[in-house]
């Protein structure tokens, strides 16, 4: 007898709770938010997807750019000066320069007649975070560090005093001033990071399979003890980024190997067997802030061919992400319940 009531009981219970939401979904509102709890539910779905990989390694979607290279592309900054014609665009040739390297800076003057641009005098000041001026920069259109003459792009060179090399790294501001022939002044600011890394890549690499993951280790020569971070993007033979991995270790002076573990599932998802190319490798010293960034090394290593059966196909199942997802799903349920009250 009791079994006769179970199905109707469950059905009526669910109907009582969800009916208002179902009605809402069927009647297209002119303008409406997604159903209550959408933000929680979407976040839960995102976490369940991300939980398939450990935080130290993830697959890159087809067409996704190399995240290491993307962060090292210096972006020009344009700043308008109110009530002054013209636009000043400023940038550094690199996001970070290693100590001893000349700092090359660029400025473009636009939205002005060519003769005005040609007659504009551009200077800069390199300033630290305390506001102290380290030196001045004169920008020229032409010169060995300027790509072309007459293109509206001016370049300047700055060499740091040896005594001013930071202990680890330091960020600097570049105040740019462009004085037009009529005396009007355009101003803008850019900057760069000056890095003094405590270790560097030797150029030696090795590979192995560990628990169904492809582990590529990079040899590092450490000058001073500290914490070191390594990241690498793996490409397939067609030149497409496949996956990314990172690792961090505290190391003493000497030679060490830092392993980058590419989680096996990514190769199944991309159907990629190798050989693979370590397309970008970035080492940094992260003993303090700001971190000291070594220059990115491109394509230093190529792996052998692997069969897909060599790689693990099981999702990682990050427990913290799955826990967050479960809590958010519960929260989303109650959000919709509250909306029906």
């Amino acid at each position: 007898m009791s079994r006769l009531f179970v199905k109707p009981l469950v059905g009526l219970f669910l109907l009582a709770l969800l009916a208002p939401a179902l009605v809402h979904a069927q009647v297209a509102q002119p303008v409406s938010l997604e159903l209550p709890g959408y933000v929680a539910l979407e976040s839960a779905r995102d976490y369940e997807a991300r939980a398939r990989y450990p935080e130290s390694s993830r697959a890159l979607a087809l067409g996704e750019v190399d995240p290491i290279r993307a962060k090292r592309i210096p972006a020009p900054h344009s700043l308008a000066t109110p009530d002054v014609d013209g636009l000043l665009t400023v940038w550094s040739s690199k996001v970070s320069f290693e100590a001893g390297e000349p700092v090359v800076l660029h400025v473009a003057v636009t939205d002005l007649p060519a003769d005005v641009v040609a007659g504009t005098r551009i200077t800069g000041e390199v300033v630290d975070s305390d506001g102290h001026v380290l030196g001045k920069v004169t920008y020229r259109d032409g010169g060995w560090f300027d790509e072309a003459t007459g293109d509206g792009v001016f370049s300047g060179l700055f060499r740091f005093p040896v005594a001013r090399v930071p202990e680890l790294a330091e960020s600097f501001l570049v105040k740019v001033r462009a004085e037009k022939p009529d005396g009007e002044v355009l101003k803008a600011a850019s900057g760069f990071l000056l890095s003094n890394p405590h270790g560097r890549l030797t150029g030696q690499y090795r590979e192995e399979l560990v628990d169904g993951n492809l582990v590529i280790s990079a040899e590092v020569e450490v000058d001073r003890s500290g914490r070191f971070h390594l990241a690498g993007t793996l490409y397939d033979v067609t030149g497409q980024p496949v996956g990314w991995a990172q690792a961090a270790e505290t190391l003493e002076p000497g030679t060490h190997w830092i392993p980058l573990s590419y989680y096996g599932l990514m190769f199944h998802e991309r159907g990629a067997r190798g050989p693979f190319v370590l397309g970008s490798v970035a080492l940094s010293t992260t003993s303090g802030m700001p971190n000291a960034l070594n220059d990115v090394v491109e394509s230093p290593y190529r792996t052998r061919v692997y069969g897909l059966e060599s790689f693990r196909a099981q999702p990682h199942g990050d427990p913290a992400l799955l826990e967050s997802a479960q809590r958010l799903r519960t929260e989303a349920f109650f959000s919709r319940l509250r909306a029906t009250q």
Partner: protein, 337 residues
């Protein structure tokens, strides 16, 4: 026959009566993180941190928590320090952990449920508060460059559910560029946001050498992005594209590429072109400036942006569609849970 329907119906109603009251208590706890400061007041006096969200009779926290029906906790950190320092990211991470443990903020407010009791926690951050959260959530794993740099970042990332970013300075601020570059009187901003090129402002420039993405990875939990597009006279002339008078859209919506690229409500970067590969999602935009958006004083128009969460007749609205009138960001937050 009637018994087959009456008894299950009665039991269903009884079950609903038991479940429904839990709905009210299953709300997230809101943790509020303020933005940049020109003095240490929010760090040394909790009331200053609380008042950051109030203007006259309007109160962002009261509105967002539905008249305090959802529990909340207000963080106060030193907004004059760089986002990564111990009195910024370190302080914020420790306070968030305290909140999830059921500890009280400086005003005695506690989350209704602790983490161990199954609680969920939404961080609502304004302006530089988001730069701080990006650093914390992007350094939560032992393989991250600045793992647990000066606080329990891993615990924070494990416990919070998501972040609501309100006019966040994820890619810095062109306002900071202008002030540090001495761009002139008309580019100087409201004193309570940016007065001079102090330490916090220096680290809020849009230069890649100071940006948080250069020193962190994807946030461990989703950051949902909303911001303002009401200009501030004079100040907005110094910013690229749409802005709220202090922070440009490329930063508010955590865009990839150039931090000073020009965007507006019709072409703001979508969820596939963010400063990190994952973790940033679009919500919408409100006609509020950088100051109004944090204190519920401007209940104005809201517009859809690419990948935003508003529907028009059941399908996503076209970007730049007016989706609401007379609705502040605080009121919008109250609609999300």
């Amino acid at each position: 026959m009637k018994l087959r329907l009456i008894i299950p119906l009665a039991l269903a109603l009884l079950l609903a009566a038991l479940v429904l009251p839990q709905a009210a208590s299953a709300q997230p706890c809101f943790i509020f993180v303020h933005g940049k400061q020109t003095d240490t007041g929010t760090f040394t006096n909790w009331n200053n941190a609380r008042n950051y969200w109030i203007d006259g009779s309007r109160d962002f926290i009261r509105t967002a928590t539905k008249s305090f029906s959802a529990s909340f906790y207000v963080v106060g950190y030193n907004g004059t320090r760089p986002y990564w320092e111990s009195q910024a990211a370190g302080e914020v991470s420790n306070e968030i952990l305290n909140a999830t443990n059921g500890g009280a903020d400086g005003g005695g407010n506690r989350c209704a449920r602790t983490w161990s009791q199954g609680g969920t926690f939404w961080v609502v951050a304004h302006s530089m508060g988001n730069t701080v959260m990006d650093f914390i959530l992007g350094n939560n794993d032992s393989s991250d460059p600045n793992f647990n740099f000066n606080g329990p970042y891993s615990d924070v990332a494990n416990r919070i559910s998501l972040v609501i970013s309100v006019s966040g300075a994820h890619r810095g601020s062109e306002g900071a560029d202008a002030v540090c570059g001495n761009s002139g009187a008309l580019c100087n901003f409201l004193a309570f946001f940016i007065q001079d090129c102090d330490d916090a402002t220096f680290w809020l420039r849009s230069d890649d050498g100071v940006q948080v993405r250069s020193f962190s990875n994807s946030p461990a939990r989703n950051v949902w992005l909303t911001g303002g597009y009401e200009a501030i006279f004079g100040a907005s002339a110094c910013l690229s594209g749409e802005d709220d008078g202090v922070v440009q859209y490329a930063s508010i919506y955590a865009c990839g590429g150039s931090a000073t690229a020009s965007y507006d409500n019709s072409n703001a970067c979508n969820n596939s072109f963010k400063q990190e590969a994952s973790g940033f999602r679009n919500l919408d935009a409100g006609h509020e400036n950088h100051d109004d958006i944090r204190d519920d004083t401007d209940r104005d128009t809201r517009r859809q942006i690419p990948d935003g969460i508003w529907n028009c007749s059941g399908v996503p609205c076209a970007p730049n569609t007016v989706v609401q009138s007379n609705t502040s960001t605080a009121q919008f937050v109250a609609l999300l849970y």
